[in-house]
Symmetry: C2
Subunit: 329 residues, 2 copies
Amino acid sequence: MVSIKDVAKHAGVAISTVSKVLNNYPNISEATKEKVNASIKELGFVPNTIAAALSSKQSGRVALLINPVTKTQVIDEISMQYLSGALFQAEEMRLDVITVFFSMIQNKSLAEVIAYFKSQNISGIIIYGLSKDDKVLHELIKTKSFKIVLVDAPLINDSTSTVWIDQKKAQYEVAKRVITENKCKSVLYIAGKKNGYVTEERLKGIRQLAKDMELDLLVKNGEFSELSARKLTFQFAAKYDAVVCASDLMAIGTMKALTEMDIFRPVCGFDGLMLMGYVGKQMYTIRQNFRNLSLEAVKELDRLMKVEKGRELIMPHTIERLQYLDIIC
Amino acid sequence: MVSIKDVAKHAGVAISTVSKVLNNYPNISEATKEKVNASIKELGFVPNTIAAALSSKQSGRVALLINPVTKTQVIDEISMQYLSGALFQAEEMRLDVITVFFSMIQNKSLAEVIAYFKSQNISGIIIYGLSKDDKVLHELIKTKSFKIVLVDAPLINDSTSTVWIDQKKAQYEVAKRVITENKCKSVLYIAGKKNGYVTEERLKGIRQLAKDMELDLLVKNGEFSELSARKLTFQFAAKYDAVVCASDLMAIGTMKALTEMDIFRPVCGFDGLMLMGYVGKQMYTIRQNFRNLSLEAVKELDRLMKVEKGRELIMPHTIERLQYLDIIC
DNA sequence: CTGTTAGCGCGTTCAG
DNA sequence: CTGAACGCGCTAACAG
């Protein structure tokens, strides 16, 4: 293993000098900088991130906290997009990453969770899809022990930022388009999980729209479950002009139910999953770029680890009307 | 941050003594062991895995090398199952894990890849879905620089093990069931990616069956693509009694095509994805427990890191005939 | 059975 | 602008 010492010897300088060019310190002459860089390249030296983390204390080690709902396969797609984006961007920014599932910390106390991350020299965490029920994580955020970026949860403090799309606006816009294009007067809205941050924002959107357009609105709780959406559709859809769901998965349940009921209603989902391609129906949806969301989350975390003050970042979304069959074939 | 030094002071022993009880060394009296453990608990001490890795050199640090095919969403499910299993088992065995995508190393040279893992103090790697085209990884395996477990690729040497199901037997069995239950005389077989390890094993299975049952067999290359399977089905399915595909995804393409052609043929897939639930058709398939496969891979890697000699592990599979709609609703 | 002493590879003062 | 020296938290011989 070629270490910083070898590079120093090869370049005829001190170890600390190599370290300094490695970390872009000032006060290094161009001459020695080039000399050192040449040696680094020649020896194929790669800094040992483990040692760097140990030594510096302010390591660029980051944890991704992912919440894959294993029951419904849909979430896999979103989680993988998150992962893919984060790993890519982290490599780009030379951050070290560990992947953690919610399940791995769910029966740990706050102290244990903190100890766990500390033992890994973690200094920043990205939490995907935090729910209000995750008590320990909420405490963790409050302690400000780590720099944290939340994806899809609006909590902000000195060391916590939020990255998400404008849920309210997105829901408003897509529903408006469905209503307008189909000249609807009434809407059945199947909401997401109770106490969910996104659920509430989206609800605000549809409520605002109902008010603005004087719609007859019925809100039911679908818990982000296909089965629930299916049942609610059987029960209430016939009396309404359109069905707007807070997720694509529920939209599938609705569409299947409508087919069985043998009636037509415009259906609207939320997320823009590729999975929808396998269902082969037509619908409206909101496409979120999950990978990009995650990319930005990493960038934001990097910023947060250097600076103070968390903030909220709103990412773009698009409204789409899709004949999903096209995507696949 | 409470370190091993604090524990030593608190327990009134030397640092090395604490280290020894931490790592279950022999030659420590029960008395001091308890004393130390008490201090550990009292101080809430958690060993710094980073420092341990630096110092020991034979760290329990492991890399998961995942190959998520981003074009088709199906693969997400498999990848997440792999990840989930590996992370769970790794925590169970107190191994440190980093997650790496193929894309992150695909334009690196052998030396760079080795340097990358070394720089992370990685000593073991699990590679999921290695293809024959991954030249650098093949070289990496040959160098024996790391302990490696391959999931779904049959390469074995002193420091490389393989974990997978009996692909040939699985393909043989499921196809046999399709043939028998439907009294078929001829079969269209849509194979996977050319040069893929599993592709070839599965091919052997269907060829053996064709021989044993004197079937009229046509083999076509579907490249694991739904679209390819679709095209091949349009082209050849009419003349055959059944269509056997080397993956569930291709089975979807086949089923859709058959529907459009308005003919019925029994269809057979491979993998047992939950995704199939959204397609809502009936078919045969082989269910692999990907999570469990990954679990075993971690166990095997742990064994490999202590012992010499790689080996091959065959995991169980099941043959199923599914009315997939049931799963969801 | 326990304590002492070196490092692991790197970051970081602080003299020079 | 450069280098010697110390320490991060821990493991691993070697003494005792």
